[in-house]
Amino acid sequence: MATAPAPPKSPTGRHLESPWRARLRLMRRGLATNWSLFWESRIGPIGLFIILFYGLLAVAHPILMATIWDPEIYDPIIGYDPNPGPAWHMEKVNQYLVPKHPAPPSAKHWLGTDPWGRDIFSQLAYSARAEFFLGVMAALITVIIGTLVAAVSAYYGGFVDTFFMRLADVVLLFPVIAFLIVLGGMFQLNMYSLALVLGIIGGFGGITIVLKSQALSIKVKPFIEAAKVAGGSHLHVILRHIIPNLLPLSFLYMMFNVTSAIFSEAVLSFFGILNLQMSWGMMVQMANISGYLTGDAITKAWWIFFPASVSITALCAAFYLVGRGLDEIVNPRLRKM
């Protein structure tokens, strides 16, 4: 890009700001306003706080593994602790053998161990990383695809528009969980492939419809016309004008997509469809298969599934709340009068 020409002297003699500095200043001011709006929604910050908490957790795991934790014991997948606390004993009241694992929370294992002797806190933190990755990646792919498709559909209209809208119809037809089950059988989904699949399905689905109507309303604005008249190519108009104005709404939907990605993974893991070694959903599935979610056992080893279930709920809710908080900013219909 050519460098900006030297700012012309204004009639009053003052220098005008360069366009970039102006943009930066406006952005900062916009951010300040938006932040205060976001803060006022009150639910947004709660979500943000929870997200930060789990982010810290995710970051903490590799640090802990590298420093104070012995990998033989604390590895979330193949770790095993031969001595978590009291060894095998007969429980006096009921006369059955209480195995050493799952061991209750202690100083050594902050959230106890799972039935196979692995540290729960380690598993939780390790999975936090995976969940963030999955959620953000899937949402990012969805938003990129969705925004591009919406902008192109709105701009070109006609056959392109109909094609993508009908494609969205077809994608919406698929019962998502069922479809993912089929794909899970086919592709042996792990975190990466799952993120890709969720991203693509989401990207061509309902989000295009919503974004397209927004893009349409942008397209008819005068500045677009002005840009075209000024000689802007199609690509230029789409990239530099339509898409940036779509971004706030895209970003908003990204939050909801993160929620649905994490939730989908947790549900699929529960049914044993995914080829994962460890995730929050897998933790609950393994607890269920071992019978720790049945009858009285639910209170006996709550640490196996409760932290994981709560984490899934909390993280999904957090992103959703952030989305709702952003909604108050971005969605003009909801603006307070």
Partner: protein, 642 residues
């Protein structure tokens, strides 16, 4: 819109009103309520239930006690074939013309549930029908598939009803134990009067198998303790006691010697069948005592199989008393097991299950074609550690493809073999020993990593396919342990967790694999040893995807595969039980020696039931292969004390 609210109010109101509902149970009848946690397949008929992919263990649970008896049965503790509908043992095979002939006398007086008598006509009809060759060139037995598929029917030329109670079998070849005592003589007998018209009609249609599999037959005439009644899909199935069950009142006694081995069996028939006694083996003498004596029922009016969504809710139903018994083919998780054992009035009995889980190798590829490599792998796997520590005692370490529960056929290891398998050694000792084995064989280590095989070929990245955490976490943990140990040894192996279908496709269909872990459900007669290790089964789709009992290289050097093939063929043709046992033991010795399979573990069969309401006349205190649920006739014994 108000109407939506009204509608909602209506619904809520109704539900509240309904909430005052009381669960009305039917009292007065003596019904045995069992829980199953997967629904029946196919249509409600014994024929459809075992056809093709319908042939699930759940169908077996419902149709086991009902609809069909056979010429022989298997004794409960001793697991030996013994006459049932047959009056006595079949005559030995003699040659007549080009065929092999045996005669079976039937027990007179056996009645079907509709009052007619079971005669040789029914028997001949059954065998001739299943042996019918269809236009596809295959027998009806193979075409129906599933539980009806057996190559033994290719042997049948014809079966004749010589008179009312005498049946003559004409076979094309002399059969071994596998085909005769353990298959044909155990085959379900169908009633000719009911089934002949249906078979005729089906054979006329375009698709006989489909027509047959579509026949619904609740209330099918039965010679068994029970008759089927109804099936409400998704809810329950019901069978009722057969009022004409001829064997009701039979007293069965099994005798044991001083060491506790089952050596004899005796049956006292009821009046309806003439009141005689028949027996086999040693039933009296020094040191001989009664191991078990039971009277045949049914002692309940009917059985309800109540369907639950999963294993846990079925177990919960036993605890809450909603059901008397839980049919559970897979064993309970530790937490559920503990709850069951702690619950009042509930008892859990544990038995060996007839199945084995194993690790195997692609014998066609290096380094797996070296027995030293396979033995080294076997050495570093600490099965006791995995079974007792990692898996909390839920599985049993395995050293032979034949489970120890199948006591007659199982072979235990000698002391040398146990040392060879590194049993009892610590992790460091195992690694050192394995390393030594490999180096002595000519493998080269570079910087701690296994680099070359004895021929100088470089060793690349190896892969172990094993069940993933979602499919079975116990086996997943086992697989992870194996990979961990191998990596410590210096073998460049990667773990590839996969679902069942993927493993099966890669291993059995495409034969594209290095090492893999799976399991088998086994039958009583160990002809599967031939299936898993004979060289004729090594093609894609066969049961020996690893390539036999030893590699081609080793066979060229020592003739190991040929030797095994010879013994296996002799075993299949063998008619003497003792000799067959020797051969089976010899096969297991060779299998251990050449380490093509490293069996990893066996699982337990666990039966949970309400001991305060039902009992099996003492059977529940004995060791039974596959537990109570494995014996199709057990429901004839259930006594309900309420």
């Amino acid at each position: 819109m108000k109407f939506v609210r009204f509608a909602a109010l209506l619904v809520v109101g109704l539900l509240l009103v309904v909430g005052a509902h009381n669960q009305a149970g039917a009292q007065g009848e003596n019904i045995f309520v069992a829980a199953i946690h997967s629904d029946l397949k196919g249509v409600f008929c014994s024929l459809s239930a075992s056809t093709g992919a319908n042939n699930t263990v759940w169908n077996f649970y419902v149709w086991g006690p009902s609809a069909h008896m056979s010429l022989y049965g298997i004794t409960t503790l001793g697991q030996q074939p013994f006459p049932s509908l047959a009056k006595d043992f079949a005559t030995p095979f003699t040659q007549e013309g080009g065929l092999w002939v045996s005669t079976v006398e039937l027990l007179p007086g056996v009645k079907w549930s509709d009052g007619t008598e079971l005669t040789a006509e029914d028997v001949a009809f059954t065998f001739n029908t299943f042996a019918t060759v269809l236009p596809t060139g295959r027998t009806l037995s193979l075409e129906l598939g599933g539980g009806w598929a057996n190559p033994a029917f290719d042997l049948i030329d014809r079966v004749e009803a010589v008179d009312t109670y005498t049946v003559k079998f004409y076979l094309k070849e002399k059969p071994g134990l596998a085909q005769w005592e353990f298959t044909l003589l155990l085959w379900d007998i169908f009633q000719k009067k009911f089934w002949e018209p249906k078979f005729q009609e089906a054979l006329q249609s375009d698709d006989p198998v489909r027509s047959l599999a579509a026949i619904e037959c609740p209330g099918e005439p039965s010679a068994a303790p029970f008759v089927t009644k109804q099936w409400q899909p998704g809810a329950f199935a019901e069978i009722v006691a057969n009022p004409n069950y001829s064997f009701k009142g039979t007293i069965a006694t099994e005798y044991q010697d001083a060491d506790g081995n089952i050596v004899g069996y005796e049956e006292q028939l009821p009046e309806a069948l003439g009141g005689g006694t028949r027996s086999a083996g040693t039933t009296s003498g020094d040191g001989i005592s009664v191991a078990l004596r039971t009277e045949e029922g049914p002692f309940v009016d009917g059985v309800i199989y109540s369907l639950f969504g999963d294993q846990s809710s079925a177990a919960l139903a036993v605890i809450s008393g909603e059901v008397d018994y839980h049919f559970n083919p897979l064993g309970y998780g530790l937490a559920t097991l503990n709850q069951l054992e702690a619950a009042e009035g509930v008892r859990v009995i544990k038995n060996a299950s007839n199945g084995v889980f194993y690790l195997s190798f692609n014998l066609r590829k290096s380094p797996f074609n070296y027995v030293e490599f396979r033995r080294a792998v076997r050495c570093v796997i600490d099965k006791e550690f995995v079974a007792n520590e990692l898996l909390a005692g839920q599985v049993i370490p395995a050293y032979s493809p034949v489970p120890p529960g199948n006591a007659f056929w199982h072979r235990t290891l000698t002391e040398e073999e146990k040392a060879e398998a590194c049993i009892g050694l610590s992790e460091e000792e195992r690694l050192a020993r394995a390393r030594q084995m490999l180096e002595e064989a000519g493998f080269v280590f570079e910087g701690g990593r296994l680099a070359q095989d004895p021929e100088g070929n470089p060793i690349g990245q190896l892969e172990l396919l094993h069940p993933n955490a979602a499919y079975d976490n116990n086996r997943n943990i086992f697989g992870l342990h194996i990979v961990d140990r191998l990596q410590k040894l210096g073998i460049p192996v990667r773990d590839v967790p996969a679902g069942f279908n993927n493993i099966v496709t890669l291993v059995f269909d495409r034969q594209d694999f290095d090492m893999w872990q799976l399991g088998w459900g086994l039958g009583l007669y160990p002809d599967y040893l031939e299936a898993f290790f004979h060289s004729r089964n090594t093609q894609p789709g066969g049961n020996s995807p690893q390539g036999g009992v030893c590699s081609a290289r080793e066979d060229a050097l020592t003739g190991c595969q040929q030797e095994f093939d010879r013994i296996a063929d002799e075993f299949l043709a063998e008619q003497d039980l003792q000799r067959a046992q020797e051969l089976a033991r010899e096969m297991q010795r060779l299998i251990f020696q050449w380490a093509a399979y490293v069996p990893t573990h066996y699982v337990q069969q666990q039966d949970a039931y309400r001991a305060d309401r039902i009992n099996w006349q003492g059977l529940e205190d004995k060791p039974i292969l596959d537990g109570l649920q494995g014996g199709a006739a057990f429901v004839g014994l259930v006594v309900k004390t309420q």
